[in-house]
Amino acid sequence: MKILVCISNVPDTTSKINFTDDDTKFDTNGVQFVINPYDEFGLTRAMWFKEKQGATVHVATVGGPGAEPTIRKALAIGADEAIRVNAEPTDGFFVAQQLAEIVKNGGYDLIIAGRESIDYNGGMVPGMLATLLGLNFVNTCIGLEIDGNNVIATREIDGGKEKLGTTLPLVIGGQKGLVEESDLRIPNMRGIMMARKKALNVVEPIDATVATNDVKFQRPAPKGAVKLVDADNVEELITLLHNEAKVI
């Protein structure tokens, strides 16, 4: 089995979000970039397939040279090879078209992406990628079992979960549940040393449609101070929620 894990390079979850250039750009100053948390679950599941069922695992990212430390980390965790498409990932449709080209040329059986990137939260790349290539697709995937060509996948739905049956080749938008939090791997020294010897292939982007772009950013309006209610006076909270906030 040949697996491609699509890795999005995103600001660490604790990052302060600021904008520059007259609020037209995300301010990357002092921001630490990491593997998108959803993709970490997918990468760990891919390593599981590699170790338990035999698989080759490649990782791909669409991004500038600045994304390389993140993709190196994926190699250190155990991926065999990495691909970087040398283009700024400004729009999900654009990224999906680039990844579709990689998948077409690489002959992958399973493409693991994340449910969404925690930066722009688009949630578009996996579904678009699957559709562009006519591959099967399962979103918000929390369980994945593969036997030969047959797949049993579980997806999270509002208020529960759904078990689905399908076949390879398949694209998933994955999340926690693919593996547990405690199973996530952090690169060890040996992994980091080995990653230096692994191939990181840089390819140039193909011509592709850019469908959307962010013209301006805004920070949320500053919040007023919290209104504290005495613990012995919960009636007051109910009154405030009813009369002032009008939510009950």
């Binding site: 578009m124 689905l164 950013f217």
Partner: protein, 322 residues
């Protein structure tokens, strides 16, 4: 030219978000000088959409579509969009809609923007506001393709009545075998309980509750309020509550009208996922807990004392205001 909106139903009954996306579609259509058409799959009571400004309903009845199937539903919606020459296609942010929307967008080579929070700020160029960076910011996003797909963030527009009479037309999409290459085997879903995605009120518990055996009062408070229950990440990691209740930046986003956080410290990753909620209430023993900075109302106190009292007083309040 028209605006097409996918109105979701559950067991034949429109979901609340169906009326919200319908209300929104009416506003978008008005801006574009056109009308809003809804596509309803396996739903009843199509006329009710007229109340929210829908002029025409495409009614799909097909047993193959009895259970949600992303590819087949997307195919039906794309065919409807083609028939209606839809310029804008609108869906909600339910898990089903987020599954469908990118498929629809790729089939139509359309730009797609998710988590939209307002009507277009302009239609040429076409610009909408959406949340980004897990609610730590907003973006004004421009869509340059002829056809546009918008995913509306739940509870961001609300229900707006614009009474019209909706004409109802049968619509029979042509479905192929390949549409069903991913098949539903089993659905395991809580029934009769509000879900985090749909609920107007969410009651959420954190590590401060000490253990799963103490969730009875959380359930009870949720029941009195007709709310969904949720939890912080460590609570689901420790298996006190199911994964599906984990909210925050790496869990489910919450966009309810009211979010009540009990025994939750308010870590940045937690707040990022819940800050779209309009009103936030925190109950915590520690006055220094960061959640107090993000909340609208707060009680510094022990959840084991405050919550039972709150339940009792809310029951009285509900009885009086019934």
């Amino acid at each position: 030219m028209s605006v097409l909106v996918y109105t979701e139903s559950d067991n034949g009954k429109f979901k609340k978000n169906a009326f919200e996306v319908a209300s929104y579609a009416y506003e978008v259509a008005k801006q574009l000088g056109t009308t809003a058409t809804a596509i309803a799959i396996q739903a009843n009571d199509h006329g009710s959409l007229g109340q929210y400004g829908i002029s025409k309903v495409l009614k799909v009845t097909n047993d193959q579509l009895a259970v949600f199937n992303a590819k087949a539903y997307a195919d039906a919606i794309v065919q409807a969009a083609n028939q209606e020459s839809a310029q804008v296609i609108i869906v909600s942010s339910s898990s089903d809609s987020k599954y469908l929307a990118p498929i629809i967008a790729a089939k139509l080579k359309a730009g797609y923007i998710a988590n939209v929070v307002s009507v277009p700020e302009g239609t040429s160029p076409f610009i909408v506001k959406r949340t980004v960076f897990s609610n730590k910011g907003f973006a004004q996003s421009q869509i340059d393709t002829d056809i546009k797909v918008l995913g509306l963030l739940n509870n961001s527009f609300g229900l707006v009545e614009n009474s019209t009479t909706a004409s109802i037309e049968a619509f029979a999409p042509t479905l192929e075998e390949a549409d069903f290459a991913v098949k539903s085997i089993e659905i395991d879903k809580v029934v009769g309980k509000a879900t985090i995605a749909d609920a107007e009120i969410v009651v959420s518990g954190g590590r401060g509750l000490k253990g799963p055996e103490n969730w009875g009062m959380i359930e009870e408070l949720a029941e009195v309020l007709g709310a969904a229950t949720a939890c912080s990440k460590p609570v689901s990691d420790m298996g006190w509550r199911p994964h599906s209740e984990h909210v925050g930046q790496t869990g489910k986003p919450v966009a309810s009208n009211l979010y009540i956080a009990i025994g939750i410290s308010g870590a940045i990753q937690h707040l990022a996922g819940v800050s779209s909620s309009k009103i936030k209430v925190v109950i915590n023993t520690d006055p220094e807990a960061p959640f107090f900075k993000a909340a609208d109302y707060g009680i510094v106190g022990d959840a084991f004392e405050v919550v039972p009292k709150l339940i009792e007083k809310l029951r009285e309040f509900k009885a009086q205001n019934a």
